[in-house]
Subunit: 247 residues, 3 copies
């Protein structure tokens, strides 16, 4: 038996979007402590690790922890139909995930549960050499600038933090002002950390971060990036593999 | 001689949209009492029956009642160009329908009159067993929910009123709250009336209803639906054949 | 050495749009008095003649006047990313055009300089017989009306000014009210000036004119049109060849 009620509709929408931005299908772990999901995107370039603790729900009840395969593309479409005033009820019923929106009229949705795939991937262990904190909009805007000339960007943390892109038609170089860097920490033994990433993936990873979110980015030269931000009471972590090509 | 002046530009736009949502070409009857149109959509699944009485115009003058074939797709495009402050003048001139927009500068449009097709279809005679009144937005929102999973929906009037859709990926079930049902009447000899309809057609039928319109829906199990709403001083009635498939 | 700083970001965006609406690549003349560009569109139907004097910049410094080939389609994409609060710095560096946006964080863009094409075309010499002044929105709205039925329009200046279009499905005739004609002057020796032009080109020509711009149109029967309007401290002139077909 599983039953959960959500009243922070906005954060729930963002949470589902944060997952659906990267994967279509995934295994949602329904545990006593809350909901969890860890999955690779279909092309194995990025990993999403999502957690929403029980305290993030208005009410949350699980008798037997379980894992269910969910089509997040479908769940996202349904979730988008929730209105700000709706309470969202989640439950399992006859091998279906039931989603009720209640605010006067009850609107009942249900989607089939997919066969649960294999065990979730492990979280990569990387000794990052740099960490930067930035407002999500600050990064998003810089990525839009970079998109003008290329489909990949170099992220570099050293004395400051910069995003750089080079393409056939032009080049873009953004050196963030100190005011905009909310925190930066580069290990003494390295001068800088720099890697190149796909712009499309970076955009997907940040798409569910709202305007006021703070994003923590961890870097190590030519290694995957780790990006983390909070969504309501929950939090989402992404790992993204670097591109081999130089920018 | 025919000359009519419209000052309720918004309602006129909605009226033309109400027709154009279902048919491209149709025969407009210009009668002493007002304008009328009754036509089947090209695939013969739905019928639109429109009436705008003479009192719905600022001035309305017809010497000899006539019928003209009109390309409503074209007329709709022209009508969309009217501004709120425009008075719209309709007249017939040398086998063309002339549409003038006047508010300072006069903008004159004209479209050719098509060969008038055969006599208009008869209004179907159905002994409906249920009638429901709802705000147009209430229905439109429910249809958007249903669209997530299917291209057809079941409408059921019994103890209450519900809209239900089932698809490969999920199912949707909306039971309208009593507050949202502005009126419901089901004949005693039947327990309920239930039929399945195309979502695309239902959306087209409601597209010209503005947010505050009240829609009267009549149902009979496995029979066509009748939907009616007012547009300014006019009114539009639609009949829509049910789908045979079960939902 | 060339360095220019722009603080009227909005006008600069419009200026680049005014050029990019017609041509992809062109030769920008960097002169002591300011920036100039004169170029034919690729299909040789229209000519754009643009000037932004040195006083239109916050600061403007040129040591050796030069001409550079610019991909205006790319420059326009970059310019669109400027925010209202940004100062825009232009400079030449290692055969690249550098564009910096400064407002706190500096965002640096650069595009390659194209091989400068041949000498700019001459300005056509036409003895126009009519001149009309209109608000840009007045003309734009009329062109939208005309678009409903055709892809070309007749412009006629005589006792008044009118725009007319005829197509297979209908016709449009707009006689501008005297209030809307800000000035009209037709030479005595002709009764009227009338030519037919491509709607697509007319739309492109006016696209960079903001809502409050006044457009000066010069006409001569079956001759190119001349259209001129101001953008901030600069001004743009277009010549557009007439269509041979009658409307």
């Amino acid at each position: 038996m599983f039953k959960a009620v959500i009243n922070d509709t906005k954060s729930w929408k963002s949470s589902i979007d944060a997952i659906a931005s990267l994967i279509d299908e995934g295994t949602l772990q329904i545990e006593k402590e809350g909901l969890k999901l860890r999955a690779m995107d279909p092309s194995q370039i990025a990993l999403v690790d999502f957690e929403l603790p029980a305290k993030g729900f208005e009410s949350y009840k699980v008798d037997n922890p379980t894992s269910i395969g969910v089509d997040f593309a479908e769940l996202s479409k349904i979730t988008k139909r929730a209105r700000a005033e709706d309470k969202i009820e989640l439950s399992l019923e006859e091998s279906r995930l039931k989603i009720n929106f209640r605010s006067g009229t009850t609107r009942s949705f249900s989607i089939g549960i997919l066969e649960s795939s294999s065990t979730p991937p492990r979280e990569p262990k990387i000794e990052f050499t740099a960490e930067v904190k930035l407002g999500s909009n600050t990064i998003k805007e810089a990525l839009k600038d970079a998109e003008l000339v290329s489909n990949h960007v170099a992220l570099k943390a050293g004395e400051g933090f910069s995003i750089k892109a080079d393409g056939d038609t032009g080049s873009v170089d953004i050196n963030f002002e100190k005011d905009q860097i909310l925190g930066i920490n580069v290990k003494k033994e390295v001068k800088e950390a720099r890697s190149v990433f796909s712009l499309e993936y970076l955009n997907n990873i940040l798409s569910a971060a709202d305007a006021t979110s703070i994003v923590i980015i961890k870097l190590k030269t030519d290694s995957p990036l780790r990006a983390e931000y909070a969504i309501g009471e929950g939090r989402v972590v992404y790992y993204l593999a670097p591109r081999i090509e130089n920018v």
